[in-house]
């Protein structure tokens, strides 16, 4: 289990926009809840839905994918592919019994520190309200 008792949200952030956006939020000292742990990936298109399934299997209370805004992808189209895959995954996760609020995708640009902080705050709140994940590990 994660070290803290608080719910854990795994964040997959693209290096160019959202990771930089989270950096901007830091530089701007925008206070956020401690629930999110960020994993840096080159592009939201790099996020394999398997990573997300794995996170839920291993006990994540939430998963957050964040990338560049559509049309603003560093690699021009990665986030469009991500959007398709993750749209499908979102419905799939819900179907498997994982509450929809536990998986979110956002578009946060490098300059949108404020937006990132708000995404973290609001998602943490929603996930906390849901309580611990009914998650796959309870089946272990």
């Amino acid at each position: 289990m994660a070290t803290s008792q608080e719910p854990v949200i795994v964040g997959f952030l693209c290096n160019w926009c959202s990771y930089a956006g989270a950096d901007s939020a830091g530089t701007g000292r925008m206070v956020q809840p401690t629930n999110v742990r960020i994993i840096r990936v080159p592009c939201s298109g790099r996020v394999n839905p398997r990573f997300i399934l794995r996170a839920f299997q291993r006990g994540a209370d939430g998963v957050l994918v964040s990338g560049c805004h559509p049309n603003d992808c560093h690699y021009s189209t990665g986030n469009f592919f991500a959007r398709r895959r993750l749209l499908l995954l979102k419905r799939y996760l819900e179907y498997l019994g994982i509450e929809p609020a536990r998986f979110e995708t956002h578009w946060v640009s490098a300059s949108e520190g404020q937006k990132w902080a708000e995404v973290v705050r609001s998602m943490a709140e929603r996930v906390k309200a849901l309580g611990p994940s009914p998650k796959l590990p309870s089946l272990l």
Partner: protein, 668 residues
């Protein structure tokens, strides 16, 4: 067993103020693989880096983790440090405990365990880091400049002067762009033509510059140092090699249509050169308006052409060029001021836009420089200049400031006052923005020396009354509604991205913002690069700017190109896609996903039960691949991976965070 060293940075009190670094160090010591943990006040400082080098040597470290600020800030720094100690730089990994932890939390009780989570995730990843080597590619020593306005011309001349070949591409019949349409330039009131046309001639005559006008970008393939560009040379209707530019064809052509160059303020023919100083001095045939193409009869131009250069049957041709770098200088469009119904553009002939005013005031324009009202060709005694038509207006236009309109409208007011001594010039503005050398002084001169009347207020309506135009506005400084009666109104339209900017961007795989302006790689530190290596930006295609800024950016882009082309070879980033041929089934579903066309089928041969057999697998072109990783997700075989962000590394981070045990063999 791998030997990991963990270096925890205090960053003064930036980290240590919120994270109990000592406690994290204590816990980190117990992580598998970690043999050395060290705290430092400033790890990025000279002694901090020296400590890393020393520990690598003393402790025989083969993996290094630094927990400090964002890798976007210091990853490159520490990679160099690690490399200087003889370790592969990609054995380094970073945990961002400042921007992503200490700076955004206030409670040490919760921030400390989070910091430790980030450290152990980084350690888990580092254990799977591999030695990576940068590749190298040969550079094609030739540049393409797209768009031959002042930005493109400047960039092309700079690159050519440095001794490299340049292909200068322009889709209009002539080079020169917007600046060629202007009369004078602020704040010096230099004649635009006088400073531009010599450069146009230089560009045309430069031995290193090949000029393609009336030509468009068709396709861009390849990558930095090795682009293959397809150019469409549109049918000109004229054999450029035979034509002498005598101009007889235009004078004899019976068709008259509004001139684009004169913004509809004057006429041109169906075979035409946009303006007398056009470069190259070769006309083009406008087939849509040509009588021969419409009715099958006429050919007057052909009859009068002594050089026998007219070609009615000419067709578009495609040519392919190889270049190492590309400068994009595609310029801008103007906001359609018709969108402001309340300003009556199109309804009242004497409401015009600023570029039309430039043509009116231009000595080589349709009125020979006399400011005449389009309605009755009389000289107006009063003119109102309205700023921000489409700029800074979320409702109807764009949110941004177009930057140059204040200055050129002040210039217009001065020019009008100069030419019509007893005239009155009004400028309706929201804010006057003069951030440039001698700009504020220019504004002052307009008000003090030229008596231009500045009214702070955006007109709500322009209407006609007794043959005059009335501007209704609130004078926000006086705080009361006003009506000003004038004879002509000039609207300063917002500068917009080209309407096909998105298409251009997609052709080159570069990104663009919500308005269609092309994105620079970093707004402050990489202002002329794009996120696609080898493609650079100059001028308004990147965002509104005036001529001095455009020229500066063009020269900056040129210097980047010159720097690139000065090498024979260049190093490539190793964090790109790679294929495990053993696992690849050759389905190639990765191929359509790649934005860089970096994936191709490749036939390999292998021995199976003593028989040599061949099969197809995916192969990554390391010169093209930029390492986005979209292909890895399309790969169900698990054959495709991104070095530095492998499936194994990313899963290790997830698993470490969520605490599941992994089999020993995967972590050694």
């Amino acid at each position: 067993m791998k030997r990991v060293g963990v270096f925890l940075c205090w960053c003064g009190s930036n980290i240590a103020g919120t994270v109990d670094v000592g406690k994290v160090a204590e816990q980190a010591r117990r992580l598998p693989g970690v043999v050395h943990v060290e705290e430092n006040k400033y790890t990025c400082s000279e002694p901090g880096q020296a400590a890393i080098v020393k520990a690598i040597k003393d402790q025989r470290l083969d993996r290094v983790v630094v927990a400090s600020c964002s890798p976007r800030l210091h990853e490159a720094t520490f990679r160099r440090t690690v490399e200087s100690a003889g370790l592969n730089p990609y054995f380094f990994e970073m945990a961002n405990v400042r921007e992503h932890c200490s700076w955004i939390h206030t409670d040490k009780e919760t921030a400390t365990p989070k910091a430790f989570d980030l450290v152990r995730m980084a350690v888990a990843k580092a254990l799977r880091n591999e030695a990576l080597t940068r590749g190298s590619i040969t550079i094609e020593k030739r540049a393409l400049v797209i768009g031959a306005g002042i930005a493109g011309i400047q960039a092309a001349l700079d690159i050519a002067d440095a001794g490299h070949e340049v292909i200068l591409l322009e889709r209009e019949p002539t080079i020169g762009g917007r600046m060629a349409q202007l009369d004078k330039t602020f704040p010096t009131l230099d004649c635009s033509q006088c400073i531009l046309t010599p450069k146009m001639v230089d560009a045309a005559k430069h031995p290193n510059i090949t000029l393609y006008t009336w030509s468009e970008l068709e396709k861009v393939a390849g990558y930095i140092g090795n682009f293959t560009v397809t150019i469409r040379r549109k049918a000109r209707g004229v054999d450029e090699t035979l034509c002498t530019g005598c101009g007889v064809c235009q004078s004899k052509c019976p068709v008259k249509v509004p001139s684009e160059f004169d913004e509809g303020m004057g006429m041109r023919k169906a075979i035409y050169s946009p303006f007398p100083q056009a470069v190259p001095n070769r006309p083009v045939m406008d087939r849509a308006n040509c009588t021969f193409f419409k009715t099958g009869k006429c050919k007057i131009c052909e009859r009068f052409c002594e050089a026998k250069a007219i070609r009615f049957d000419q067709e578009d041709s495609l040519i392919e060029v190889k270049v190492g770098a590309i400068v994009t200088a595609t310029g801008f469009d103007l906001f359609k001021v018709e969108k402001y119904g309340e300003y009556g553009y199109g309804l009242y002939p004497d409401v015009i836009n600023s570029l039309q005013f430039e043509r009116l005031v231009n000595a080589s324009g349709p009125t020979d420089g006399k400011i005449k009202k389009p309605s009755d060709h009389e000289i107006p005694k009063s003119v109102a200049f309205v700023l921000c038509v489409g700029s800074r207006d979320e409702q109807k236009g764009t949110t941004y400031c177009s930057r140059a309109c204040c200055m050129y409208s002040i210039k217009h007011a001065i020019q009008f006052r100069d030419k019509v001594k007893d005239g009155r010039a009004y400028v309706f503005y929201m804010d006057i923005r003069t951030p440039g050398k001698s700009y504020e002084e220019f504004y002052k001169r307009a008000a003090v020396d030229y008596g231009v009347e500045f009214i702070r207020g955006r007109p709500s309506k322009i209407f006609s009354r007794n043959g005059k135009l009335v501007l209704k506005a609130e004078d926000t400084l006086l705080g009361r509604p006003i009506e000003v009666e004038v004879e002509m109104v000039v609207l300063a339209p917002a500068m917009l991205a080209r309407n096909d900017a998105a298409k251009i961007a997609q052709t080159m795989s570069i990104s663009y913002d919500g308005y269609g302006f092309l994105n620079e790689a970093h707004p402050k530190l990489r202002p002329v690069e794009t996120n696609t290596a080898g493609i650079f930006l100059a001028g308004v295609c990147q965002g509104p700017k005036d001529i001095p800024d455009t020229v500066a950016q063009a020269s900056a882009a040129a210097s980047k190109v010159i720097g690139l082309l000065s090498h024979e070879q260049m190093a490539t980033e190793p964090m790109i896609a790679r294929v495990s041929e053993a696992l690849c089934s050759g389905c190639l579903w990765c191929k359509p996903i790649c934005p860089y066309q970096a994936i191709e089928a490749k036939t390999i041969t292998e021995k199976i039960q003593g028989k040599v057999v061949s099969r197809e697998v995916a192969a990554v072109n390391s010169g093209l691949c930029q390492g986005c990783g979209a292909c890895t997700v399309a790969c169900r075989d698990g054959a495709m991976n991104i070095s530095g962000f492998t499936n194994d590394q990313l899963l290790a981070e997830v698993d470490e965070l969520l605490g599941a045990s992994r089999p020993a063999c995967a972590a050694e």
